[in-house]
Symmetry: C2
Subunit: 394 residues, 2 copies
């Protein structure tokens, strides 16, 4: 990681990212009531902040994502999760916009999380880390934006848990969000989604190497439980159609079944691979805390149960996006957000992208989706008075 | 269990069920090539076989079911899984039909399975038990039916894995099946379903108490892994709508979240309960073998990839039933069976029952479903020349 930057400066892109320590002077009050300080935030930037500071886009990552949006992942070496969307002339045109993405609170890629040392004890937080919320993640992001000297964001965008953060931003900091793009998300986690997360958590907790969350001190890692959790979750990220097209009942390496418990089917081999590679890059306790934050998310609940109350008086321009084959965050969840925004006469467009790729479509090559983003950002930029580089026309 | 009955007799109902040892004289050749003998079969009967032996219905149970169809489960004490359907005047009218249900090969409720002692070694089979198929399960059932002195069955019926057995019966023993009712099932296990099963298997295998399958000799049981497997599977048995209606985001015991990892949400508590009670009544190795059998099931594959080939020349009367909200065995899977039957001009009716209860609907109070069964059985009974008791009209 690069050195800590002085207050109010926006560091240029660095493939390794940046870190900053926040809250030492002013602790961050979490929803659970605990005040946390300091909080280290790992983040990444692309492009340049303009003189008016009006071109900043905050990208919010999903459950197991991080701030390596368009850089090789430092552990896996794989390309960033939105690499196809970031760059000159791309959806997030780095000649035009200044992009920020930070690893969420509770994460394991540099921002303070359960894997880090609790300064009060000198030991890893583990299960003594406070249970955090999407609101807490956004609170920390708001501090980062403030630290960077940016008053308000041109756009906040993200898919899945990133979309929850977008909605939270719009609800909690309406004056700091010019436009918002919540993608493949919901204003509250459904019973089925809580159930799938609970299976993952129980798989981790059932692993004896989890050791009540204190595996680090014992020099262990609950690899097996975390891999099972990932496998279960991964199924929910794909559509049945996508799984059928990719694998169907195709056999692995053989012409016929083995009459054994090896990975006879390609889909088994694929899932096992997903599980085993995940444990190399992710922390089990982080997985527990972040899934919990998603389960707790319910934007209406704290507002008399009326979702529209979350957006009363908003001047933010919204573009809500869902994918037709996403069964984890199905279109009706997005429609509920749109209805709430309509109820307060917000400026909102809604696109259900036709795709058979399931929830993960927001991370994949989906031209209609990318065209939607480009079009919406274009319109918002015009309203914001952002000009294209080398173009004197508004 | 009651004493072994002499060949060719149909024992009356006994709440504890019956057992019989089969294959000692004529081993049962399994799909993997192994010859198995003897095979103990635990089964249950309801009603009386008529003099013509034309009123026998074979009920095929699902993955974790057993032959206690309408009796209290000997371990849990819970009512049988189809108790509402079995009895005088009910869907399966015990005044009219003779019902048979046997625990499947590989099971853990009395029929030979991995928990039993391998006579060749004197030790529990464990992972040395041969990998079985739906075809093997049906082969053993056919031997039981033969042992009971029944030439052909008036009806074979079952849901989910039970439905796979029904299809296998119709394909492998067409002359022994007068009518067949495959419910909430498919002619081949889909990639998504294999994936969910693989998660469950990996959860079991990841449990150190599984001990490579030899947990019995060590006096252990992989409770934690099996509970996680059950939790993951259980989600797939319910529809999102059913989970939302039953639990939504309702909290357990409290007015607000705990900021901890206890079961804050009712749906978490429910799932944990499903997991923890399951391990009391089910064997982990049985779970591995039976899920594998379902994954291997592909009726078309062994018949040049053409499903219709499985039913060529069939004279069986079919009633195919699906449930509109079943996403584990969705209606298109049933429709594929119907199309194959139509292609060979079979006698087939097809009903998609409108229900929001998901896959488990076949085990629940669904009046339209029960009326469908009654109506179809009534028509088939008429064709079979079965008369109602105390009714001289055909």
């Amino acid at each position: 990681m690069s050195a800590v930057e002085p207050l109010g400066t926006c560091p240029p892109h660095n493939p390794l990212g940046h870190t900053v320590e926040l809250g030492r002077d002013r602790p961050i009050r979490l929803d659970c009531g605990i005040e946390m300080a300091p909080v280290t935030v790992a983040y990444q930037t692309y492009g340049r902040l303009n003189a008016d500071k009006t071109n900043a886009i905050l990208l919010c990552h999903a459950l197991t994502g991080d701030h390596y949006v368009a850089d090789p992942h430092p552990i896996t070496g794989k390309p960033g999760w939105w690499i196809d969307l970031v760059g000159p002339g791309k959806v997030f045109d780095t000649d035009r916009y200044f992009l920020i993405c930070s690893n969420v609170l509770g994460g394991c890629m540099g921002t303070t999380g359960p894997r880090d040392i609790n300064p009060a004890t000198g030991k890893p937080w583990g299960q003594t880390f406070p249970v955090i919320t999407i609101g807490d993640m956004v609170r920390v992001q708001a501090r980062l934006v403030e630290y960077l000297g940016i008053d308000d964001l041109f756009c906040v965008i993200g898919g899945s848990m990133g979309g929850m953060q977008v909605l939270e931003w719009a609800a909690s900091y309406p004056d700091k969000v010019f436009s918002a793009i919540p993608i493949a998300t919901a204003a509250r986690h459904s019973a089925q989604n809580i159930a799938f997360h609970e299976v993952g958590r129980q798989a981790i907790i059932a692993d004896p190497d989890w050791m009540g969350g204190n595996y680090q001190e014992a020099g262990l890692r609950p690899h097996r439980g975390l891999a099972v959790a990932r496998m279960a979750a991964h199924i929910t990220y794909l559509s049945e159609t996508a799984l059928h097209r990719k694998f169907g009942r195709n056999l692995q390496d053989r012409d016929q079944v083995s009459y054994g418990f090896g990975a006879d089917f390609q889909v088994e081999s694929y899932l096992r691979h997903q599980g085993s590679t995940f444990v190399d890059r992710f922390d089990a306790n982080s997985y527990l805390y972040i899934t919990r934050a998603m389960d707790y998310f319910d934007l209406a609940a704290e507002r008399d149960g009326v979702l529209a109350n979350a957006f009363k008086g908003t001047r933010t321009r919204f573009c809500v996006v869902s994918f037709s084959s996403d069964w984890l965050f199905p279109t009706p969840e997005s429609r509920a957000v749109v209805h709430a925004l309509n109820a307060v006469a917000a400026n909102v467009s809604f696109v259900e992208v036709q795709s058979d790729k399931g929830h993960d479509a927001f991370l994949l090559d989906e031209p209609e989706f990318h065209a939607t983003l480009t079009g919406f950002l274009e319109g918002a930029a015009e309203h914001r008075g952002l000009r294209r580089k080398g173009n004197s026309q508004p």
